[in-house]
Symmetry: C2
Subunit: 365 residues, 2 copies
């Protein structure tokens, strides 16, 4: 079988050793004679898994003790609503940074619950950059940002909060680089990039921020209910949490977040260098805000785009078509994508350029 | 290794062939060279899975064409809030049937959104029966019931709606017996009993009922958003849906819901007969309302209970301890539990009785 190189934007590649352990557990988990799919979430064995996963998150991201680590469901899209439902009162105001497709979705949901002020936007240039922003309005309930814009290929590298509680959607770059959790009051992330398979959502929140909630919200939308029940108020997504644990153990073996960050920088530089060098391609994001996770680029014209897409697919490169609102290409370089796969893509771009040159020479002859 | 017999209340046993196929797909899905855990939910291959799963639900439960079949996340606990959030306006009223622990949770959430009328309750006898109920108040927004009470071991076998839209939590008995979907306006069920692994929630709803929603709710709490986006508004729980598809294909091979219902009646009768015969045990639920899915029973005294629990565990019987609010035993007989496992339990009860008799004879001698 042809080897595949999965550049998909999520759900995305996980390490082969994680897949193997996950498959084994589906048949017979830790020699228990039971599948991980049929085990009770109230069993001591699974309680150990969820505790261990939480500790791994704390260790890998240096989560301070006055922060809670929670496992929810419903992805970042549910968080778009849960954040304002908990923290935005009617007659109060929240500040949002408008940096792309998903930021817009978050803004839309917040407007159902209170006043939203967009303090900066990069809509004017199709979200190709991270706008500067500042605020000195201390009455704002929170400031919301998106650390990595999966579709537009931009990433935030600084997080000034201006004294306002900072809430951040880190779905597509959490665990890919070091962060200072203290910069944020609440971080949320759909798991299906660098944490594990789809079906789980990570929340890291400052306890003091959670305790400030005055709204009466349903149990499953109340962060404190998850905190008070160790993320087991109801049946959690057992398998997703288990695979996340395996994946975070794998990450630890890679030198943790610090180790993987170095590798991610290397991978991203390698690909951006080729995009900048190769006359057939051009990057779409502002150089200073280029994402290390989702590299977005275009071909010089539509025919070239189509031809390269086909060429790449024939080489086993999967998932490099850009999102429909942006077009072009998107190569996602998540943690588990080996550097060898980036090399295959870079070589494909070079080969494609050479075959073009050859064609032109033949036509001229 | 000792063979295990998993009587757990959920997450619960699935057929070994389903586990095997699921494990294979985690390594290499359908010879694609990709794991089911890394495949894009927007790929044609996964779109085919979600479509097929939906069609299997329709086929197995005879879902009429004017009903939608949706896949959500968050379990029944999220539905406890979503139902009133969508259908219960302030100043309107919903009727609830109070038949146990989970019905109470649903009632609690509904009270956040509007007026709740409990039209019948079996709280007076620790929820050991299904109360009679009736209503002729056509101004009620909906009537909510729980078809199977997992903890208390009771099940509803008739669903009079009295002309009011009927909403039903079927988490623990859906796909275990024939139902007439037309009796209901909305059915919801956490998947982790007879549908698949934890992490997915099934909703079957009459389109006309969905169209009646006037409240403005966030996208992820809006049933119509799931309907309009084929349950793919955001990243769905890919693996849970895939395993549900495998499991529903398995159910089809068992003669569908009609075939499995016959087997479930046989399994339940076998165990209830032994409970009624054996002088060391007694059933806890009213005979007419005994659940076929969760058989609850007690030992004649605490010492016997403790001794039998140990005896059963040594035989590889897993998950028969009753829920803490009820005590005693609970043997869950979900679709995938083989009749052979029920025989092992029944024989254990007989053996236990005989060893007791022998002990007493020896003590008398």
């Amino acid at each position: 079988m042809q080897q595949k190189h999965n550049f998909g934007a999520g759900p995305c590649i996980l390490a082969p050793s994680v897949m193997q352990q996950a498959a084994n557990a589906v048949i017979n988990w830790n020699d228990s004679g039971l599948s991980i799919l049929e085990v009770s979430h109230r069993s001591a064995a699974f309680e150990n898994v969820i505790r261990k996963t939480q500790l791994l998150v704390r260790e890998l991201l240096n989560v301070p003790n006055d922060y809670s680590v929670l496992f929810l469901q419903g992805g970042a899209s549910t968080q778009f609503a849960m954040v304002p439902m908990n923290f935005l009162q009617k007659k109060s105001r929240a500040a949002y940074l408008d940096t792309g497709y998903f930021a817009q979705k978050a803004i839309k949901e917040a407007r159902l619950f209170g006043e939203v002020e967009i303090i900066a936007s990069s809509k004017d240039k199709n979200y190709a950059y991270i706008p500067d922003y500042s605020s000195n309005d201390q009455r704002v309930a929170y400031l919301h940002c998106t650390s990595n814009n999966t579709i537009e290929g931009t990433e935030m590298f600084e997080f000034p909060g201006f004294g306002i509680p900072l809430v951040c959607d880190m779905s597509s770059d959490i665990f890919s680089r070091r962060i200072n959790v203290r910069d944020f009051d609440l971080i949320y992330a759909g798991a299906q990039k660098n944490m594990g398979p789809a079906g789980m959502t990570l929340v890291i929140a400052k306890n003091k921020f959670l305790d400030s909630v005055k709204a009466e919200v349903p149990a499953m939308m109340d962060y404190r209910v998850f905190r008070d029940n160790d993320s087991m108020y109801n049946t959690p997504p057992v398998f997703s949490i288990y695979v996340a644990m395996l994946n975070l153990l794998w990450l630890k073996d890679q030198g943790g977040v610090e180790g993987i960050e170095k590798m991610n920088i290397k991978k991203a530089n390698m690909l951006y260098q080729e995009i900048d060098r190769n006359p057939l391609f051009k990057g779409t994001a502002n150089v200073a805000h280029r994402s290390r996770m989702n590299v977005t680029f275009k071909a010089i014209d539509e025919a070239t785009e189509k031809a390269f897409l086909q060429f790449a697919e024939e080489l086993g490169l999967v998932g490099i078509k850009g999102y429909r609102t942006v077009g072009g290409f998107r190569a996602s370089l998540y943690n588990a994508l080996p550097i060898a796969s980036v090399e295959v893509l870079v070589n494909a771009m070079k080969q494609f350029e050479n075959s073009r040159k050859l064609e032109q020479t033949l036509q001229l002859a």
